[in-house]
Symmetry: C2
Subunit: 239 residues, 2 copies
């Protein structure tokens, strides 16, 4: 491990020691290849350019996202042996959605290890969530799938998600979407059409962010159509 | 292994032997727990109901989809060490999209092992693709992640995808979408708006399937806006 550390006594070596301690606290094990964790915590604002390629944690985030999805899929598959795939997919998305990951990342202290350019970038929650995904990618490469799955389940899911609450939460998609839009300072519009046909009446709602149409929802009440449209929009935007 | 087989000489035991042979051919190893593969090849049309729950391969499909995503993510991550996450995400989706999996499933002979009710159901390609995902789920549970990844890479990806071609294919999203709509007998509409502002001109296109709005695309030419809208629609529909 030590050969991967930087020159002893240098500030870089001190940074590494701090990172090793933080990974131990967050993940419960000692990193073998510290350079993976250095990369996982590197926001692009702080990355060096070389040959048209900017060093950052974004490739590890791509990998971690996929591995996290598989680990949580496996966990729920075994936890709920008599639930169908619709249920499993929904519960998984309530756990690994962008918002939920951002909050989790904040709770476990990702802010203390992320390296970013604080002169040009605000440490938004999404940076924390992305860094958490990249950390999962680093653990996967460093320790293999089984250990990574154990990290995900024992350190991320079990201590931070009460599954009974997650399952029973009657998700209000519209308020989730509105909260997101407010945080992102996006102009959001729900365009409702009331359709009459014979004696029946149906509502359709289209969500617009700025001028762009996102999810369209339907229902026999305006509220249901709105929820339906908001749910589709949240899915499209990975909120 | 044999204790999991059905009564020797029975037609069920013969089915198991046939399935073992087929899995050996497709995956290159002997299944340990044949009941997983029985379930993986069971379309819901043939599944038994018990206690409000219908036995089918759909749970394994959910699991296999996630594991396949992780295995292919890992493969591309290592194959292209200097490509960014946008590239990796795009190439992965070209490999594991619905259409591509359906074709792959047909090629490797999934049709010979899927159990479905042929009086009520046509063996559509999507059933093959879903069964292939369920098979990946079964291999994962039976042999673990590392063997499953090896199966995915050695038996599914490397023999059936020429990565150079995949990377260089200048995907025509509109024709991909139109082909899909034709197969699904869906009414599809591209609604184009030409926007003028000052001396500039921009096009926006919305794709409608029936009356439902899907992707909206933009561009300085009509063709680019159409491709953009079609690409977003393909992503939304996982085509």
């Amino acid at each position: 491990m030590w050969k991967l550390l930087r020159r002893p006594g240098s500030s870089a070596a001190k940074e590494d020691k701090k990172l090793i301690t933080a990974v131990k606290t967050i993940a419960g094990f000692t990193p073998a290849n510290i350079s993976l964790y250095r990369l996982a915590t590197l926001h692009s604002s702080k990355g060096k350019d070389s040959g048209g390629f900017r060093e950052s944690n974004e490739r590890l985030e791509y990998l971690g996202d996929a591995v996290l999805g598989a680990a949580v899929a496996d966990y729920l598959f075994k936890k709920y042996p008599f639930k169908d795939e619709g249920f499993l997919t929904e519960i998984r998305s309530r756990i690994v959605n962008r918002e939920s990951l951002n909050n989790l990342a904040r709770k476990i202290g990702i802010a203390s290890i992320v390296q970013y350019d604080n002169r040009n970038v605000q440490l938004q929650k999404v940076i924390l969530g992305n860094t958490l995904e990249a950390l999962v990618g680093a653990v996967y490469l460093d320790k293999g799938y089984a250990s990574c799955k154990k990290f995900v389940i024992d350190k991320l899911i079990q201590p931070h998600f009460d599954l009974e609450t997650v399952v029973n939460s009657d998700t209000n998609h519209k308020s989730r979407l509105l909260e997101w839009a407010q945080r992102q300072a996006k102009e959001i519009k729900f365009e409702t059409t009331e359709n009459h046909q014979g004696r029946g009446r149906e509502f359709s709602v289209i969500v617009f962010l700025g001028t762009e149409a996102y999810g369209q929802g339907y229902g026999f009440t305006k509220k249901k159509a709105e929820q339906n449209a908001a749910e589709k929009t949240c899915a499209m935007l990975n909120i």
